[in-house]
């Protein structure tokens, strides 16, 4: 029989609870340094009675099941008890304690000093449980990592046909959703990151996903985010929580509908000022406003307007108890959208075979005079978001409950692209989601996410000459189950039940389109 005391881990956890850094578990890098110590043999009932007054303290320690309390309790309690003992015949319990102390002393010279251990950067988070993206620790040294996401996806919209542009309508596919390779180099006052991606979402494509240089003012706590980081290049979009939660660690397969509508890509070009002061997290960014989507990376990267998007988030992260962490924030962005003008056209001639007889008859030809070009124009757009996250440790594993709400004006850039110049009205967008994830042992995870997005709060439809308001909200229920090899791989099944108003019933009333989808994804760390 033996007991395993995670000495360094418990020290790290004890320190972590005093800081504002939200970590659901100790950094995995320190776990292999746990000390293997034989447990003392059970003390006979007859020897328990005559022990010294210090004995209750020493007997209480092995009985404890909490590693974090056991180790501090052992050293001070046993030292005064051992010193005055002159007895030549060794007490069995005392001998056991001495043996354990010898083991500790033998182990300690080979261990790095405590601050040195803590300055080692933890590995990158591989699940959303592993910590808040707003409490990211910027490591030192060279780190090379990556991951592969391979999946099979199935959609009720799939057809073995081509659309009007000749593109396949089949969506039941085996694909490499993401294959990322990332290199980080961290210095005391600077850091740089390059990340590339390959996928076949829309044909095989490779592209840059992150290329960022940063100047840092690090916190005195090596496991805390920097006090100030100035970054420039292609990097995260500091808005809300879901957008900052990396694709690598997000357990749900993709971001929610509203997040993808507002931000069709995860990264954008610009400059950012981020940091953490105590519990508070802040970020200010100036961005191009052209997020880089996975499916069409070549389409991004050129801002059509000289005005930039200004973005800010103010939030807080706290760990009021060892087993509880909370975080949240408010985000805002204001930017400028672009309405493309049209080029000049030449005179042309059009024939429509109205009666289908294959001959040009009177009334079937139309002259189309040329038209002068029309100028492009810009429009204002903004979005506001509120996010909250609650992390907890439960007897069966870690839990994460989080949610976010958005409102925006003309900010849909990915789904129902807002163009108030074309429509003549400003579009009001509203979105929200609530998600819950639960570990069941470190090797399994279940979750449910509900999200809703309304791309136009003022949408109307016309039937029989009468205008009716119409709800365009798209609500998605996404249950998921997954198997996990901690920090190595996970295999996830997610079903998306999409309830919307994109179809039309026999009365002409908007109704739910049959467009559910599901996917099986295997993600393996590089």
């Amino acid at each position: 029989m033996s007991r395993r005391i995670p000495l360094v881990a418990s020290l790290a956890l004890a320190t972590a609870t005093q800081s504002s850094v939200v970590r659901a578990e100790p950094p995995p890098a320190v776990q292999p340094d746990d000390v293997e110590i034989p447990a003392p043999p059970p003390a006979p009932e007859s020897t328990a009675a005559p022990t010294s007054p210090a004995t209750p303290a020493t007997t209480a320690a092995p009985a404890s099941t909490s590693a974090s309390t056991a180790v501090p309790a052992l050293a001070p309690a046993s030292a005064p008890a051992l010193a005055p003992t002159p007895a030549p015949t060794p007490d069995p319990e005392l001998a056991a304690l001495r043996a354990r102390l010898d083991a500790l002393e033998a182990k300690s010279p080979s261990e790095p000093a405590h601050p040195l251990v803590r300055s080692d950067p933890p590995g990158p988070p591989t699940t959303s449980f592993d910590g808040s993206p707003w409490s990211r620790v910027w490591g030192r040294g060279l780190q090379i990592g990556g991951y592969v996401q391979a999946q099979y996806q199935h959609s009720q919209l799939s057809e073995n046909q081509l659309d009007a542009n000749g593109s396949p309508l089949n969506q039941n596919r085996l694909l490499v959703r993401r294959a990322r390779l990332r290199v980080d180099r961290g210095w005391d006052y600077a850091a740089a990151t390059v990340e590339v991606d390959g996928n076949n979402n829309n044909g095989v494509a490779f592209g840059l996903r992150r290329a960022e240089g940063s100047l840092l003012l690090r916190s005195s706590d090596p496991l805390a985010p920097p006090l100030l980081a100035f970054s420039a290049g292609l990097s995260d979009i500091p808005f809300g929580y879901e957008l900052m939660d990396p694709n690598r660690s997000r357990v749900f397969l993709e971001r929610t509908t509203s997040s993808r509508a507002f931000f069709p890509g995860d990264n954008d070009f610009g400059a950012r000022l981020t940091g953490a002061v105590g519990y508070f997290r802040y970020a200010v960014a100036v961005l191009d406003g052209t997020p880089v989507p996975d499916s069409e990376p070549a389409s991004a990267g050129f801002d059509a307007t000289s005005e930039k998007d200004i973005m800010a988030r103010l939030g807080a992260e706290a760990q009021p108890r060892d087993d509880l962490g909370v975080g949240g924030g408010v985000s805002f962005v204001r930017g400028t959208g672009f309405h493309a003008g049209t080029p000049a056209t030449k005179d042309s001639f059009q024939w429509r075979d109205l009666n289908g007889n294959g001959a040009v008859d009177a009334g079937e030809t139309v002259a189309l005079p040329g038209s002068a070009s029309t100028p492009s124009s810009t429009f204002s757009r903004w979005a506001l978001g509120v996010d909250i996250q609650i992390r907890a440790k439960t007897p069966i594993g870690r839990s994460l409950l989080y949610g976010e709400a958005y409102v925006g004006s003309n900010y849909d850039r990915g789904l129902f692209v807002a163009d108030p110049v074309a429509t003549g009205i400003d579009l009001r967008e509203v979105g929200w989601y609530v998600a819950f994830l639960q570990e069941i042992t470190p090797y399994a995870v279940i979750g449910l996410r509900v999200d809703a997005y309304n791309p136009n709060g003022d949408s109307t439809t016309q039937r029989a000459g009468t205008v009716f308001p119409v709800d365009q909200t798209i609500t998605t229920w996404s249950p998921m189950v997954g198997l996990v090899l901690p920090n190595r791989a996970r295999f996830v099944f997610q079903y998306d039940h999409v309830a919307d108003h994109e179809g039309l019933d026999a009365r002409g009333v908007p109704t739910d389109l049959r467009n559910d989808q599901w996917a099986l994804r295997l993600q393996v760390e590089l």
Binding site: Q161, L354, G356, H497, G503, A506, L520
Partner: protein
């Protein structure tokens, strides 16, 4: 996995209070397609139109009161035929499908009232038709649905689907005599394939020469009678028209003798290969006493690959010959 997904979908549909679901499909297998409409599988709503409508009365509303379309003859693969008309004032949508073809119907919302038609509601749509429509008469049924989902009397409009082979509309109007013979070449990919025929007198039809008439013949003589005329040059210079067939039509009995036939791949248009069929159609007496075109056994069935494209520098692949007596 599919069963699990279906169970999950059912549970989630209940959880999300989901109602009726419809599919977004281009329905390209359907005989009629309406890009602006919603396709719903199943029978057309409403009451069948009573026969002998003289005594049938005005019909049960909501209904489609009239249909306006410029032709009642539909060519297979025809695109962009405009339909319009009126529906009763209590209608919300107009539904349409072929009575004897297809698997469902299309839903089109009605428009604004028409003051010139007693405030009947207007409707319109543009339809495409499948390439594999069965030739002959067909009825297109129209129905209307009100806000409660109720439907009234259907309205049927007769259409005739013409044959793909040029038959002078004989399939729809049997009183019109069909051509005496038609030689057809059809193929399955978007390439520039040419039908070449050499007559007993040594005249070659195809490419730039579109008639079997001897050089120097008058336009009138060259364009009909016993002279075969090429109807069109499909996918000419890879300007893809989607027709992918060429026909040489003899309105009266051709000159006797052996006719040689070639299929010439003028341009592959980026396609790796093409499969083709050459068929001869001969006018024969029908059971009703009239004449109609009857398809003969295929003259040739074959394949050409892109490397055989010659840009018109050679007659192409020899398919065989046939004789007129």
């Amino acid at each position: 996995m599919s069963r699990l997904a279906a169970s999950l979908a059912s549970a989630l549909a209940v959880a999300s209070c989901g109602g009726e679901q419809v599919s977004r499909t281009a329905a390209l297998e359907e005989p009629i397609r309406i890009a602006s409409g919603q396709f719903i599988a199943g029978a057309l709503p409403g009451l069948p139109s009573p026969s002998g409508s003289e005594d049938a009365g005005p019909g049960v509303t909501p209904l489609v009161s009239d249909v306006q379309v410029l032709t009642n003859t539909i060519a297979p693969g025809m695109a962009g035929l405009d339909f319009g008309g009126h529906a009763s004032p209590n209608a919300q949508t107009v539904e349409v499908r072929f009575a004897d073809l297809g698997t469902g119907y299309w839903v089109v919302p009605v428009g604004v009232p028409d003051p010139s038609a007693n405030d009947a509601l207007t409707w319109q749509f543009t339809a495409d038709f499948g390439h594999d429509l069965a030739p002959g008469p067909h009825e297109l049924l129209f129905a209307a649905v009100d806000a409660n989902g109720a439907s009234g009397t259907q309205l049927g409009v007769s259409f005739c689907v013409d044959t793909p082979v040029p038959d002078n509309f004989n399939a729809c109007s049997p009183k019109i005599a069909p051509p005496a013979a038609v030689l057809s070449l059809t193929w399955n990919t978007a390439v520039d394939l040419d039908l070449i025929v050499r007559t007993p007198s040594g005249v070659t039809v195809g490419g730039k020469n579109v008639t079997t008439a001897a050089p120097g013949s008058s336009v009138k003589a060259a364009s009909g009678g016993s002279n075969g005329v090429l109807d069109h040059d499909s996918n000419r210079n890879c300007a893809i028209d989607g027709i992918q067939r060429e026909d040489i039509v003899w309105q009266t009995t051709p000159a006797a003798g052996a006719y040689g036939v070639w299929a010439d791949l003028f341009g592959a248009c980026g396609r790796p290969a093409v499969n083709f069929i050459a068929t001869l159609w001969i006018a024969e007496p029908g059971p009703d006493g009239g004449r109609r075109l009857v398809e003969q056994p295929p003259l040739a069935v074959g394949e050409l690959v892109a490397s055989q494209a010659n840009g018109g520098t050679a007659p192409g692949l020899y398919l065989g010959s046939f004789n007129f007596q």
